[in-house]
Symmetry: C2
Subunit: 265 residues, 2 copies
DNA sequence: CAGTGGTCTAGACCACGCG
DNA sequence: GCGTGGTCTAGACCACTGC
């Protein structure tokens, strides 16, 4: 039962204790934890030589787990951990010709609209040469209820049909973006590739989405093509990884062709 | 242009410099970074009072970003960042009646097979009462090439048809699991719900998958039902978040019903 | 202003992997 | 044994927020 000798480090044991208390409801979602100095005093009962640095390391463990969030000058709070549910593939409802749903829960803020070269990873996803110039629209979406940023989205549109149009203006578009693109290009969306990745945030993303260093983001690159394979739109969306879940409902095909060589579950 | 006064903290500026060097190929994937003490000496040219702790904080930024990985007693290495590609929805190829593809790139290790109560989050996903007993199969999949663990998977099967069968034995099943389940239950897989989440690893997951603290895991809960809505299988898969990407190719429907109230891109 | 979390120093010793 | 990264102390001062 007892672990002879090899004890986990002090900061881990303190983190374990605090985690247990959070799970047990001693501190509930939204509650402020006692301040570092108060916690320091408290745990010095068990560890008389405990330093502030080590106490902070313990809290850092819980921050890395997304269990608590620190706000400079205010305190450290138990995270709400409400995840935004997002359905995969549910972008293209033809009936949705206006902005009703788009603006129901989220407030849009256009950060940039204009021409710019595409970043390398976007060019790679779409099969473009590096540095190609496109019409770029970047926006930040806020939860209307809480006011907190939820999503950082960037769309890249070919200059061929988007240049000189309202897509280059920093105003909210009159209907769903893909419908605008279909109107302007004269082509219809046919095939899509979504690539989902999870990674650490860049400094800019961390700032825009107000996420702690050490947590992650979900990164979607969405490449939409017409039936003739020309790219109509590439878009990129970033969510705080601990505030989102992706739901995918589908039917199992009766008989299907064999799959590729990728890993099974 | 210049930022008067408000400079970023020392550890950030050092991290920025090291990040730039990695991006520029000064250190390539797999390379060992100079040791902490060597880096300390080097950056003391710019910051004469630099402490080891601060130097470590700078490296910690890159570790949190998944850009480098530290190995105790060995060194700090630029991460390979090879992501395993996984297609969404590609589990059900009826033609794939044997283990060929399953064993081509991955080695299976059965960690557990037998009866156990389901964990709460699995019960919640499937709509079960908490603590329901099911047949549980847990396995760890290794990359045959590198020998590194890739995926931790657990399947939960109803006792009604799985109890007393080979599914309770710690041996590799003769064909794809879902085909075994269809044989034993007499029902066919019809509807599936996949829920993807990103979160910090538990201690057990971190150990099994050998991932660093501070990085995350991708968590998939897969609930498969027959046409009559009975649950045939719930499975849960965990991947190191920085070693996987999910690819979803699909066609845009010509005309479609309106979407739900969830967020758009 | 007081109280919070954030950064930093200059040391010390420990734990791990390798030769 | 030696060099690596990991943990830890006992201080110090800074930056942010709210009163």
């Amino acid at each position: 039962m007892s672990d002879p000798g090899g004890k986990p480090p002090k900061y881990q044991r303190i983190a374990d204790e605090l985690r247990r208390e959070i799970k047990n409801g001693v501190y509930r979602a939204g509650d402020r934890l006692p301040s570092e100095t108060v916690l320091l005093d408290r745990f010095r009962a068990a560890f008389p030589t405990l330093s502030l640095q080590t106490m902070r390391n313990a809290i850092g463990v819980l921050r890395a787990e997304g269990l608590v969030e620190a706000r400079h000058g205010i305190g450290t709070f138990v995270a709400a951990n409400r995840r935004l549910q997002r359905r995969s593939r549910h972008r293209y409802g033809r009936a949705r010709t206006d902005q009703k749903l788009l603006t129901a829960h989220l407030r849009h803020e256009i950060l940039f609209a204009g021409r710019a070269p595409v970043p390398d990873h976007v060019a790679a996803a779409a099969g473009f040469e590096a540095g190609r110039e496109m019409v770029v629209r970047r926006r930040l979406l806020f939860d209307r209820e809480t006011g907190s940023p939820q999503e950082l989205g960037t769309s890249y549109l070919p200059v061929s049909f988007a240049a000189g149009t309202f897509l280059e203006e920093a105003t909210v578009v009159p209907k769903a973006l893909f419908l605008c693109v279909e109107d302007l290009s004269g082509k219809r969306y046919a095939q899509v590739r979504d690539v989902w990745r999870w990674r650490g945030p860049t400094a800019a993303e961390a700032e825009a989405l107000r996420i702690a260093a050490g947590s992650g983001v979900v990164h979607l690159i969405h490449v939409a093509r017409a039936a003739d394979d020309t790219v109509l739109e590439v878009s990129e969306s970033i969510w705080p990884a601990d505030r989102i879940e992706i739901i995918d409902d589908y039917d199992v095909p009766e008989e299907s062709e064999d799959a590729d060589g990728l890993s099974d579950i």
